[in-house]
């Protein structure tokens, strides 16, 4: 008996063929705890061996699931233990480890490998310092390695020394990749309240609370949600809009849950989480900004944007939470400027500014994401943009992040173009009134009262 109606089958096929329903990423988390070594070269070769062995079947298995279920899996990726945690080698430069990660990623056929990372929200250890100092060279000499550094948490506050250091690292990374408009910074994210099971790049890493190997899946589907919202009449109430988004998020999440279970089963590893983030791509129509406009804002960035985004984010979570019992990762709408054609259009028209993006950060997932800023933006200004994002995360007990690209030699209105999923965007202007004193004070922004929960 056919228990599924032909209409439901047609709906699924339309979602896939016309509305960009896909699984954004199947990410294999791999523990590197057994790769510690006295010298960087030995460590690098152990990392290469471990990653290529554990991930050998990832791409073929994901591809066969894609074919059998008819749902495209756009990216197959790897996340590893934060490299700073295993950086016991005597050398200071960890670039050879990044090179080994890059080679492993190429050899197993994944497009990105995350985990060139450190967690320094409370203090900077020896391994952490090595890692932060190695980031510019590591990102300039590799293609597929992603780096992330956690500088703040609700339980610890904001490590302002780490924030300032990361602002300098961002500037150095932009300079080290200046011939490609600072693309290294597109693979470098600074976090507050980083999560241990995020499948999305550039912030994926394999946390210490995880099993040796685990499959985490990131769903997608802004195009599907936009199509559903657009199909509603303009006088439909917001309750109706939220309901429609919720029902759609459920279906998208179920597809993710199925792919996560099946991939984990076939690889013989644990299934970790399904990340309910709506992740846009530069493809026309696959845009979170377009959903905000479909909900009824004239142009993304205009008044009402925060309302629409908050509604979207909440409805996606409510529908998604019914679709899987393993919600995790970042689970919130992404608003990466250069990766979202609608955001790019809004910036070009002057509707969307850095300040509005900061407000949007308060109600959704990783906020100041993929934002090209003028190449001559002072490190102190970058540091305080990051600390503002962190303050929102620390006080509101949520993940926030900044992925800023100070595009070398470019100013407001000039365009960067990274190609592929990283997209391109006009350089946003930055408020010049940051001063230099706050960023240079250093020390720690104390953990807020709200963190005292025990």
């Amino acid at each position: 008996m056919l228990h599924i109606s032909p209409e439901e089958i047609a709906e699924t096929l339309t979602m896939i063929t016309q509305q960009h329903l896909d699984i954004r990423t199947v990410t294999l988390g791999i523990s590197l705890s057994d790769c510690v070594a006295d010298d960087a070269d030995t460590m690098a070769s152990r990392v290469y061996e471990r990653v290529t062995t554990a991930a050998e079947r990832l791409v073929p298995v994901a591809e066969s699931i894609e074919r059998e279920y008819g749902i495209p899996i756009i990216n197959k990726r790897i996340a590893v233990t934060p490299i700073a945690d295993i950086a016991a080698c005597r050398e200071h430069d960890l670039t050879p480890v990044a090179v080994a990660m890059d080679r492993a990623a190429i050899d197993v056929g994944v497009d990105f490998i995350g985990g060139f990372s450190a967690l320094v929200h409370k203090g900077i250890g020896a391994g952490d310092r090595k890692l932060m100092d190695s980031v510019p060279s590591a990102l300039a000499t590799t293609e597929r390695v992603c780096s992330s550094v956690n500088v703040a948490s609700t339980r610890a506050g904001i490590n302002m020394d780490a924030v300032m250091r990361m602002a300098e690292v961002i500037k150095l990374t932009a300079e080290a990749t200046a011939e490609r408009q600072g693309i290294g910074c597109a693979k470098l994210v600074v976090f507050c309240n980083m999560v241990e099971d995020n499948p999305f790049m550039a912030g994926a890493m394999h946390g210490s609370g995880e099993a040796d190997a685990v499959i985490n899946v990131g769903i997608s589907g802004p195009g599907v949600v936009r199509a559903v919202v657009r199909s509603l009449p303009e006088d439909a109430g917001l309750t109706e809009v939220a309901e429609a988004i919720k029902a759609t998020a459920f279906k998208i999440t179920r597809a993710g849950e199925l792919v996560a279970r099946e991939t984990a089963r076939r690889l013989g590893v644990e299934m970790g989480i399904v990340d309910l983030s709506l992740a846009p791509t530069p493809a026309e129509g696959d845009s979170v900004a377009d959903i905000i406009e479909a909900i009824g804002v004239g142009r993304c960035g205009g008044p009402g944007t925060t309302t629409a985004l908050a509604l979207l984010n909440d409805a996606v979570k409510k529908g998604g939470a019914m679709g899987t019992s393993s919600v995790g990762g970042l689970s919130g709408a992404f608003i990466p400027v250069s990766e979202d054609a609608g955001m790019v259009r809004a910036v070009a028209e002057g509707a969307l500014t850095l300040e509005k993006l900061e407000a949007m950060t308060a109600v959704c997932s990783v906020g100041l994401d993929m934002i090209p800023v003028p190449g001559d933006t002072p490190a102190e200004t970058i540091a305080t943009i990051i600390s503002d994002a962190c303050a929102i995360g620390v006080i509101n007990n949520k993940t926030t992040a900044a992925r800023l690209i100070p595009a070398p030699g470019l100013g407001p209105g000039d365009r960067v173009d990274f190609g592929g999923l990283l997209g391109g965007a006009p350089v946003l202007s930055v408020n010049p009134h940051a001063g230099t004193v706050l960023a240079r004070r250093g020390g720690r922004f104390p953990a807020p009262l709200g963190s005292l929960r025990n």
Binding site: M1, L2, H3, I4, P6, E8, I9, A10, E11, T12, L13, S64, R67, E68, Y69, G70, I71, K251, R254, A255, E257, L258, M322
Partner: protein
């Protein structure tokens, strides 16, 4: 291993669509459990519930055989495991 799957066929109506699809299924040992078929303004739409006998013909080979049929008769044919629809449309 028996795998339940949904087969959908979509395109301009013509003689021999059902015959071509059914022949390919029979050749691969795939059993038809249920069929729904309609024609709306000369667009042919057919949905089948089938069971693929993977011990006899692997899933991907059945898909490949159906892709050949799709090419020959100029229709869009997809074969997907049934669980994806069950997961997406049922709590």
């Amino acid at each position: 291993m028996k795998t339940r799957a949904i087969l959908s066929v979509l395109g301009e109506d013509r003689v021999g669509i059902v015959a071509a699809v059914a022949t390919a299924l029979a050749e691969t040992g795939t059993n038809i459990e249920d069929i729904r078929q309609t024609i709306i303004s000369s667009v042919f739409s057919m949905t089948m519930l089938v069971t693929v006998d993977e011990d006899r013909t692997p899933f991907e080979d059945v898909q490949a055989r159906l892709a050949e049929v799709a090419e020959t008769i100029g229709m869009q044919i997809t074969l997907q495991r049934e669980d994806v629809f069950r997961f997406m449309h049922r709590v």
